[in-house]
């Protein structure tokens, strides 16, 4: 049902009464990445593994890998651009979504 609700295929009686939702949590199934208009793209050649982007990302959408390199989780990245702003080597570019 949750998937149907997310797709907008529901009537008011299909929604959980009083918005009391079980099982919890449900936020992982809400892919907020669709809100994005610009997406961050990393140039690994310029990345110095300082992890500033990982610290500053407000949505925990920068994933830190074993070797301290980083990867973007596009399912939840809303494209705010903070990572790109704080990157000291300009390794993250904001690219328009198509």
């Amino acid at each position: 049902m949750l998937e149907k609700i997310i797709r907008g295929e529901f009537g008011y009686e299909d929604l959980p009464p009083a918005a009391i939702i079980s099982p919890s949590p449900t936020s992982p199934s809400y892919k907020t990445g669709v809100w994005r208009t610009e997406k961050p793209v990393i140039d690994p050649a310029k990345c110095v593994k300082c992890l500033l982007c990982w610290v500053f990302c407000p949505d925990m959408s920068i994933k830190r890998l074993e070797d301290d390199s980083v990867k973007i989780d596009y399912d939840y990245c809303k494209g705010c651009g903070i990572c790109s702003e704080v990157c000291p080597t300009k390794a993250i570019r904001m690219v328009e979504e198509v």
Binding site: I5, E13, L15, P17, S22, P23
Partner: protein, 397 residues
Amino acid sequence: MARVAQVRKTAMMGDEAVAYAVKQADVDVVAAYPITPQTIIVERLSEYVADGELNASFIQAESEHSAISICVGASLAGARVFTSTASQGLALMHEILHAASSMRAPMVMAIANRALNSPLNIHCDHSDVMNARDTGWIHLFATDVQEAYDLTLMAFRLGEDRRILLPVSVNLDGFILSHSVEPLEVLPDHEVPEFLPPKDYPYAIDPSRPATYGAMALPDTYMEFRLQLHEALQKVPSVWGEVSRSFEEVSGRRYSMVKSFAVDGSDAVVVALGSTYGTLKHVARRLRDEGLRVGVASLTMYRPFPEDVLARMLGDVKAVVVMDRAYSYGGLGGPLYTDILSTLYRNGVEIPVLNVVYGLGGRDFTVRDAEEVLRMAAEGAERGGFPEKVVWWGVRR
């Protein structure tokens, strides 16, 4: 009809009667903050708890906003919950009133109706509850102390019903009912659980079954959740029928959503909320003996609004006077008046309706006033109209 329980005749103030009903309802949590003219209710409840007569958590919060917030949490945890307030206290609760209804947290709140500041006034009017009119609560009005007791018990059963799951307010006129000693019949303790079994809340917080409470709903779902709330209220009249029948079986007293006196065959009807109904009825009885064809009606249930009952009741009369103990400032009149105007209009009843705004800040409405209003109603029916739309009763000009 089944047997009526062995009743006990006693006498109590309205506040005491409410507290007694709450004790018999065996609540689990009482969270409140004292305010006149409700104070006696929570004072009595704190005594019941301290004396070991009621096994409940009694929480004195630091404000009404916190008191009602505690009640919401306790209700969602599955507890039977009671609170009580009036006037400024209810105003301070306001944002959480919406949360209580839309989170479907059943609870009962007694409101000893009192005017709002400013100027400061501690006496009766209905401005406090009318501000809470559209919060999604069920609002009941007592016309005497017996009703304050009865409706408190019925409110738990109604609000906790699985088809409803809504908070309920029981309104009793400040001082006029809250502080007046009247005779009443109370049920024996052992009869109460039969009418009011323990609360069985389907969404009770349970760590082994985690859930999100009070989730965020964005534009794509918010309206659907609000319609759920409206639909729950729409189910109240039919459940009320069951609750009142079952209450009649133990008490012998029957409660319809709208009570009335001598409405059938009357030319004019005066409609009022709360204790004023008693005054009007007392005078109407005498005037009818003189041949005046005038009846009286009062809403036991104000929200959900009993539109169908009122449309039927007022469909054959020639004129209506609606008494309001509150006002919509800058609006068309009092809240009950505009509700009844709308009811008549959308049910195709075209009759003159006069709004009498009275008793603000506790100004007495005496039997002499009641006689004048009833005669005015009959005159309106005879002449086919009223000279004014809204009258501020007895105001000095």
